[in-house]
Symmetry: C2
Subunit: 371 residues, 2 copies
């Protein structure tokens, strides 16, 4: 098949939109060119014209969608608008890739996913951290069955430090109305996605989210969560934007050994005898299975955002697969929504999530805080 | 003051009693000599006579207590009997040091502590891990205020691996009746004590204890707990006897930096500006305080059991202080009891603990499992 160049439009020329535009101009998106940009803010559009003078500039999303200038669009707008804009683009026959998070509440994301499934168009999500060779290797070892049945996961991911100045930089930031959450919605979507991508979805979530604990904000900036998986394994997830220096230590324990990803290294402790076998057969009270401990070589380059866009263009051309299907965005968001709901209601949330209940509880917080 | 030699008796000549006896015979207990041993089991008493032929052997606790052969006794019997034996020894005017845990439920331990307070005698507990220079240094840095206000603690202490053979080695093991719990009562008392010794007592505990999850036992062998401290700091504690290779990673985060104790090293990340000050004053959205990261030199020798006994003898002579006052045994046990109760009732337990409720719930489990 001859690969054609996919013409892209970017909706939203804030920080992320600008990053994507520069990647196009640097020739990093294979079989992709930047044909159009859109932002209702004239100053942002002016900055976009400097980055990519060749792209046609729109101040109306609908006009870009109707213009015929683009085959595919990147949605890089505030979180709440992702599902409606994705659906609108699909309605105009455009392929779509959305920034993370997929949305703020799973009710809207589910409608978006249903629209995408019906459309027959390509729908992706910008989970660029899935291109990190360390996480790809972890997934391979876990999902291939090599690590054995899952027993425990823990991710101490507290290296998202933000001072108050960060939160003061935009009025929509860290509000229920503007972002629909704090560290879980803004900083952690990648981690929550990778956690489930590698370890699978939990079946229940109990969480303690602390709102405005360290900053003058409405939403959570400190979270500890405990999960259980369908096979009975357990996990913890700890995050914050006030820990410094923070941690980024991700561990997965299986019946055949342990993986610890920390400090840019993946350390594998591989058992010579599976633990469940050893447990049953050992005759010495204080014995344990031998383990071979080594650093896993994780080959490949982290292609990040441009890698995700190149794969997306390849999928449109029928020559590649998506790094992350758009529909998968609901998984990490479901965990995030369940953490909020668990903490708000003071109880364990079993999945599938009660999406209407979440939406109602979120709306109450929006209404309460609208000034 | 002239130091006299304290004459010790050991009650219970199982594994720990034998360890103590050998330490006396090796001359490791300063100003202490082993004068008497007691065990109702003739085979254990025979073994004791081989270890310490000079000590007088008793098969009745009361006879040892009344004999006048000892000034002080070490209680190294099964957990449940610690409080009644401590009280009986005090009643005979003997100084007492008990093995950990202080008891199985805090109701009994509180009565024991009250009796000790009234007695005017020396009462200690065998928290030998308090002599580890790493933990002593952590405590010094935290309790002196150097680390600043506590923000987060986490202890992943899953390196207590035990195969089924361990649990099969004694009928009383890992039963509600025999031990009153699993990994929390048998393996973790040291960790729970050190956690509170260094970080202070939490004000609430939420835990997920899994009973017989990995072994054919009645009691818990897998625990994840979340705690909150009086100042609002949070913590997690994860333990198991089925993880292999397990972790032992203890982290304390304060306003002035972070301590991580792992792999026999204490790593200190010391901030140049306290986080709360930096948070308020920083003008850059993505900045964070500079940290100096270094390994802390932890001088001193881990004197362990014999160090605890030497200090106990010194306290009797008025020349030294206890490594751990017996009354402090209630702290770690309170956390342990609160973890059980939280999981049994499926709710957060606020401290102080409802000791009668815990006792009732424990008794229900004993009654249900008596064969």
């Amino acid at each position: 098949m001859i690969e054609s160049t996919v013409r892209f439009g970017i909706i939203g020329m804030g920080n992320m939109g600008s990053v994507h535009a520069r990647n196009f101009m640097d020739g990093k998106v294979i079989n992709g060119e930047l044909a159009a940009v859109c932002d209702p803010d004239p100053s942002k559009l002016a900055r976009a014209k400097e980055i990519c003078p060749s792209a046609e500039a729109f101040n109306s999303v609908e006009e870009l969608f109707k213009s015929g200038t683009a085959d595919a669009v990147i949605i890089a707008t505030p979180h709440y608008s992702h599902p409606p804009l994705v659906m609108e683009a699909l309605g105009h026959g455009l392929h779509v890739i959305t920034e993370k998070p997929a949305g703020v509440y799973t009710k809207a994301v589910r409608e978006m996913n249903e629209a995408a499934a019906k459309s027959g168009l390509v729908f992706g999500i910008m989970y660029n951290q899935r291109t990190n060779p360390l996480f790809r290797k972890m997934r391979e070892i876990v999902r291939s069955g090599e690590l054995g049945g899952l027993k425990r996961t823990s991710w101490l991911i507290t290296d998202w430090y933000r001072p108050q100045a960060y939160y003061n930089s935009g009025g929509w930031r860290a509000t229920w109305k503007g972002e629909g959450g704090g560290v879980l919605l803004n900083q952690c979507p990648h981690n929550l996605d990778l956690w489930q991508w590698i370890c699978g979805m939990p079946s229940s979530v109990t969480a303690f989210t602390h709102e405005g604990k360290w900053h003058n904000i409405e939403v959570e900036d400190d979270v500890t969560a405990y999960v259980e998986y369908p096979n009975g394994a357990t996990g913890v997830f700890v995050t914050s934007t006030a820990d410094t220096p923070g941690d980024n230590r991700f561990e997965v324990l299986g019946n055949n050994g342990k993986l610890v990803c920390e400090n840019g290294k993946l350390i594998y402790s591989r058992l010579k005898t599976p633990e469940r076998v050893f447990n049953a057969e050992a005759t010495e009270s204080f014995s344990q299975p031998e383990a071979e401990v080594f650093e896993v070589e994780c080959s490949g380059v982290e292609t990040s955002h441009s890698g995700v866009l190149s794969a997306f263009a390849g999928k449109i051309n029928g020559t590649d697969e998506l790094i992350a299907r758009g529909e998968e965005g609901i998984n990490g968001l479901t965990i995030s929504n369940a953490m909020h709901l668990s903490s708000w209601l003071g109880k364990t949330i079993k999945l599938p999530l009660d999406e209407d209940l979440y939406y109602t509880e979120l709306q109450r917080r929006i209404d309460k805080n609208v000034k």
